[in-house]
């Protein structure tokens, strides 16, 4: 736990202070680390409590307060701008995360990114005994559904005879769609984005297979009640 380089990142992540690269790395790590998810859950309610506060409460306590700044227009404008910025940022990046982190089925953590809501990676289920793990995230697009896949060998797992894997989708219409293939090496994580010309509701399931082999991991797209068209 103490060796986990991500273990101290939950707070700055929650406050939206991580830069994009580090945030993405942290989110990928979250999908695979129960300890970090639990750490994030511990403090996930805090930012909403800070949301309504005046900035003065972040200053030094009264007995150590510095000489008050004259209430001229500029300091007031700066303070208002700072409050507005913090509020706006919190509204766009915070609330979605907070709601999800609170719900803390501990699997689903939704973090909006700069380009719209970022889907939560969800674990694929093992269909057979396999050393392979994967998470998948689906994002609705105007052209269909974008699919982010992360795949890796479990630590210490014996490498199977073939290192080649494929992602296939089965449509509700009965058709099969090849979404890509890759080679996997121990200790390496592959991350790739694929796409399919179906809406999420039209995808029956997603599976990882070995060439000419059975499906080893599966992901049944949950049948949430959703608006019929988008």
């Amino acid at each position: 736990m103490t060796a986990d380089p991500y273990a101290r990142l939950d707070a700055v992540y929650l406050l939206g202070a991580l830069d994009a690269d580090e945030r993405l790395a942290y989110e990928a790590h979250l999908a695979t680390c129960r300890g970090c998810r639990a750490g994030l859950a511990e403090i996930s309610a805090i930012p909403s409590l800070l949301a309504g506060l005046d900035g003065s409460v972040f200053a030094a306590p009264p007995e150590a307060a510095p000489t008050p700044v004259p209430d001229t227009l500029l300091p007031r404008l700066l303070q208002a701008a700072g409050q507005e910025r913090a509020r706006r940022r919190w509204l766009t990046t915070g609330l979605g995360l907070l709601a999800a982190a609170c719900a803390i089925a501990l699997i689903v953590i939704v973090v909006p990114s700069g380009s719209g809501p970022k889907p939560a990676p969800r674990a694929m289920a093992a269909l057979v005994a396999t050393p392979v793990d994967a998470t998948i995230a689906l994002r609705p697009r105007s052209w269909g559904t974008e699919i982010d896949l992360t795949c890796w060998y479990q630590r210490g797992a014996a490498e199977p005879s073939s290192d080649q894997y494929e992602l296939v989708a089965h449509g509700a219409d009965g058709a099969t769609y090849d979404l890509g293939s890759w080679r996997l090496a121990p200790g390496r994580r592959i991350i790739f984005t694929s796409g399919i010309a179906l809406t999420e509701a039209q995808i029956k399931n997603l599976q990882i297979t070995q060439p000419n082999g059975p499906a080893i991991l599966g992901f049944g797209v949950p049948r949430l009640s959703r608006t019929a068209d988008r």
Binding site: A11, L14, G16, E42, I43, L49, G55, F58, G82, R85
Partner: protein, 67 residues
């Protein structure tokens, strides 16, 4: 949860902890910006914020128990 209780909890915190919350939350700074503003290392911003949110949570719980 009343905001005066949260404000009181903040008032109880070490100023190092309040400083990182002011930078990273209220001012909307990144870790790098906060580190620059406070004159500390980025890693210190991360760990202080980590402890700050936990200290704040504890302080709020204690105050709530009193009320």
């Amino acid at each position: 949860m009343t905001s005066h209780l949260v404000a009181a909890a903040l008032g109880r915190m070490a100023h190092e902890h309040r400083d990182v919350l002011r930078e990273c939350y209220f001012r909307g700074s990144s870790v790098g910006q906060a580190a620059h503003a406070l004159g500390i290392a980025p890693g210190t911003v991360k760990s202080r914020t980590y402890y700050a949110l936990r200290a704040l949570r504890l302080a709020i719980e204690e105050l709530r128990d009193v009320e």
